[in-house]
């Protein structure tokens, strides 16, 4: 009976985060002036669109029992590539294509290293995080690369039905990857591999192919986010999005994605992103100095990981003793 309940709890893991989000929003609306205003809400959602876009694929990576630390660097590289190619060729389409291609190649590389060379993804993507950041500086010559094309900025500042394009793109990613996770054989295979890689292999799941595809998708989506960011700030910045990977992973874990793989829900991830965004937004409204914001962000991450760990039922006294 207990096990049944535990398993149910672990499968429907988005309920906890939803409660946290509702309580958080209620408290902030009550106690933080201007928080609940429509203007602030729009700003809040725009501010999380970058993290939100990247979380949709990070969810798949974590569900696979892997991690990708290189996303921040891919965002920077894609923005810089896009900017350089647009300034050199004058073609927006070529620039966007170059950025997407660059990001996808990095993701593909990560995937092959993890799947075929059997390198731990934490280490493999720590390496590519450094390499790709370096490439971003090399491609840009260490400077911000401005983009002299007004029509490209539209991607960052334009709006449809009163909603900015960056938000539309994030929404699109949530819809697409929500369907991928829940309705496709591929998505179920991701969960199966994350839940039990050897059983998946023996059951006929094409494990390597799924792993490589997930990392490639992560690269593509991070690049997409990087190009949109470049359009918002009208330039390619090689030093942008430092530490983005941590915000993205935090949001996923807050949303109930297990670091042990096999468990993920798109709704949970959305909630996790909003929790992160709301906390950040409230700190800004309250004029809390940046230094404290680091502490709060770290605290939220720690909280999320502790909750994840407790949910995995590894905290019974017996298991604690056993571990020693």
């Amino acid at each position: 009976m207990m096990t049944q309940m535990m398993l149910a709890f672990r499968r429907y893991s988005a309920i906890g985060p939803l409660l946290v989000l509702l309580v958080l929003f209620a408290c902030l609306a009550l106690f933080v002036p201007d928080f609940a205003g429509a203007r602030n809400m729009r700003g809040l959602i725009l501010s999380v669109s970058l993290v939100g876009t990247v979380t949709t694929t990070m969810m798949l990576v974590l569900a696979l029992r892997e991690v990708d630390l290189s996303v921040g660097s891919i965002v920077a590289l894609a923005g810089v590539l896009c900017a350089v190619v647009i300034s050199d060729t004058g073609s927006v389409a070529l620039g966007i294509g170059a950025g997407l291609l660059g990001g996808t190649m990095v993701g593909l590389f990560n995937g092959v290293v993890v799947a075929k060379l059997k390198i731990n993804s934490l280490i493999a993507t720590l390496a590519t995080m450094e390499i790709v950041r370096g490439l971003a500086f090399l491609v840009s010559g260490g400077q911000a690369v401005s983009i002299p094309r007004e029509d490209f900025y539209v991607l960052g500042s334009g709006a449809l039905l009163g909603i900015n394009y960056p938000i539309w793109i994030a929404i699109l990613c949530f819809v697409i990857f929500g369907v991928v996770l829940n309705k496709t054989v591929f998505g179920k295979n991701v969960l199966a591999i994350g839940g039990n890689p050897e059983a998946a292999r023996l059951a006929g799941v094409p494990v390597d192919r799924v792993r490589i595809t997930v990392f490639a998708l992560q690269g593509f989506v991070a690049a997409l986010a990087g190009i949109v960011l470049a359009a918002r700030i009208t330039s390619g910045q090689p030093n942008t999005s430092l530490g983005l990977e941590l915000a993205v992973i935090s949001a996923c874990v807050l949303g109930g994605v297990s670091l042990l793989g096999g468990i993920a829900s798109i709704g949970g991830v959305l909630i996790g992103v909003l929790i992160m965004g709301a906390a950040q937004n409230a700190l800004n409204l309250l004029d809390v100095p940046t230094f404290y914001q680091y502490v709060v962000r770290g605290g939220i991450l720690l909280f999320a990981v502790i909750v994840d760990s407790a949910r995995q039922n590894r905290w019974t006294p017996a298991s604690f003793l056993k571990a020693r």
Binding site: R11, L191, N196
Partner: protein, 504 residues
């Protein structure tokens, strides 16, 4: 006999869907060697885990030396003077024998370890065991029998008054077994109480003073004197029924040869293996742990690469680079380790059944309704006991998990089934059902390869038995030729039976 040093009183333990122990009461005296016997799933390991402090009993009480004890973990059990020598030894392979012996009880002060004292104490303990082991040798360089001595040395060092052995001889040679029995007799002479879990009748009758039998989680009988019983009687007590009832073997018409191996070698299969199996046949594979049965199955299944040889299905040579290729050709594997290699414990029973077929088809989207329909039909026809198709498979009993994995292969339309230890850890009722399913599948014309270290099981279900030893085929026996002695003669390294490894 003096007052008992260890008392179990009405111990009960329930896991989801299984009563592991019910009202088990038994006493153990000082200087007594008590055999604890029972078939797989009878509750022996659960009782040992309760003794070790790994599980807490749901009901009942445990007393050591007349005092009630409640263990919150293995440390409590150890400090109550209990030591368990497990089948898999808990040693640090890269550390020295002396370090392993004294780990956690290093002599020294201020956190500094006194290396000389460590070696001296280690040497003293090893001398007491009468064992010639270098205290500086790394544990991984020792043969398995000597490692076990190190484990016993640890128990002595802690001055454990109660020592439980969990199938200690399962991977020992005949000589190592003799040494172990001598040491256990010494421990008895010291006044220590020994609980000895084993399937081997000969050992039990040679070594033990008394025997307790568990069946389906219940204490069936205790004989304070071994002379009150005999092996046949014990087997009947353990099974609670005759062997024929459990296996219910049904003979079949066999079809043409469907699976043929010739000269197959690879990791764990050292000598070329050539054999054939026919449609409708259940081909048993018997051998000791490490004989190469699982390894051979993984080779056939494409899970490990073939070094040489060919595999033919229905007369056509095939080459499987991955399990996917093998599955596409009609193979299916029920792995030995269900938990780590078979099931996805958080996923629904339905998902666990349909995962293979959906991966063999090309449609990218899941057809939920169609899959549910198929899964539910299989759950019904194979009598998988589950609350619903959407229940997480991790909550089911081992037998029902195994049936779900079999259902996976029926769903994928497998024609060749490789079943590795198909009933390990499965209670007796579910085992009979699984055997019945095996006969049904064979009767439908499928070819079943069934590996088991459970001799009566292989003898009970297989049409022919391939005996493996040390990564090679030692012999192939027909049902009529397969006697326990013949099987053991082929399976044991020195060709001499040590004791009948009887498991029902």
């Amino acid at each position: 006999m003096t007052a008992p040093i260890l008392q179990f009183t009405d111990i009960g333990k329930v896991f989801p869907g299984v009563v592991a122990l019910a009202d088990v009461s038994m006493d153990l005296g000082r200087g007594e060697i008590r055999a604890l016997m029972g078939e797989n799933g009878a509750g022996k390991s659960t009782l040992l885990k309760i003794l070790a402090g790994e599980y807490r009993p749901d009901s009942g009480a445990l007393a050591v030396d007349g005092r009630a004890v409640a263990f919150n973990g293995p440390r409590d059990s150890a400090s109550a003077g209990i030591a368990i020598i497990h089948q898999e030894l808990h040693l640090a392979p890269d550390m020295s024998v002396a370090d392993n012996l004294l780990l956690g009880a290093y002599p020294g002060r201020l956190g500094l370890v006194d290396g000389r004292a460590v070696r001296a104490r280690a040497r003293a303990i090893l001398a007491r065991l009468g064992e010639d082991i270098d205290p500086d040798a790394k544990v991984k360089t020792l043969p398995i029998g000597k490692r076990q001595m190190v484990e016993i040395g640890k128990a002595l060092l802690r001055d454990a008054a109660i020592i439980a052995f969990d199938e200690p001889t399962s991977s020992l040679s005949a000589r190592e077994t003799e040494t172990l029995m001598r040491i256990i007799r010494d421990l008895k002479a010291d006044g220590r109480a020994i609980l000895y879990v084993s399937h081997r009748m000969e050992e039990v009758f040679a070594l033990c003073d008394s025997v307790s039998i568990l069946r389906d989680g219940r204490h069936v009988a205790t004989y304070p004197d071994m002379r009150q019983t005999d092996p046949d009687h014990l087997i009947a007590q353990m099974a609670g029924r005759t062997i024929a009832d459990v296996y219910g073997y049904q003979s079949r018409e066999l079809g043409p040869v469907s699976l043929e191996l010739s000269g197959v070698t690879g990791p764990g299969v050292k000598q070329p293996v050539s054999l054939s199996a026919r449609r409708g046949e259940i081909l048993g594979f018997f051998g000791l742990v490490g004989a190469g049965r699982s390894e051979l199955f993984k080779l056939i299944y494409g899970a490990t690469p073939l070094a040489s040889g060919t595999i033919s299905l229905d007369g056509e040579p095939r080459r499987f680079a991955t399990p996917r290729h093998a599955i596409a050709a009609g193979l299916g594997l029920c792995p030995e380790d269900r938990k780590d290699e078979g099931i996805f414990k958080l996923a629904a029973v339905r998902e666990n059944i349909t995962i293979t077929r959906r991966n063999m088809e090309t449609a990218p989207l899941i057809r939920r309704q169609e899959e549910s329909g198929r899964a539910e039909k299989l759950i019904g026809s194979m009598r998988v006991k589950t609350a619903s198709a959407d229940t997480a498979i991790g909550t089911l009993s081992g037998g029902n998990q195994q049936k779900a994995i079999l259902a996976r292969w029926l769903d994928a339309d497998a024609r060749f089934l490789l079943m590795d230890e198909p009933t390990r850890g499965i209670d007796i009722g579910a085992r009979s059902e699984i055997y019945a399913l095996m006969y049904r599948l064979a009767a439908e014309g499928k070819t079943l390869l069934v590996a088991s270290s459970d001799m009566p099981e292989v003898m009970g279900v297989a049409d022919r038995i391939v005996v493996m030893r040390d990564g090679a085929i030692a012999g192939v026996l027909t049902r009529e030729e397969a006697t326990p002695n013949e099987l053991l003669r082929l399976a044991l390294p020195d060709g001499k039976p040590v004791g009948a490894a009887v498991r029902i």
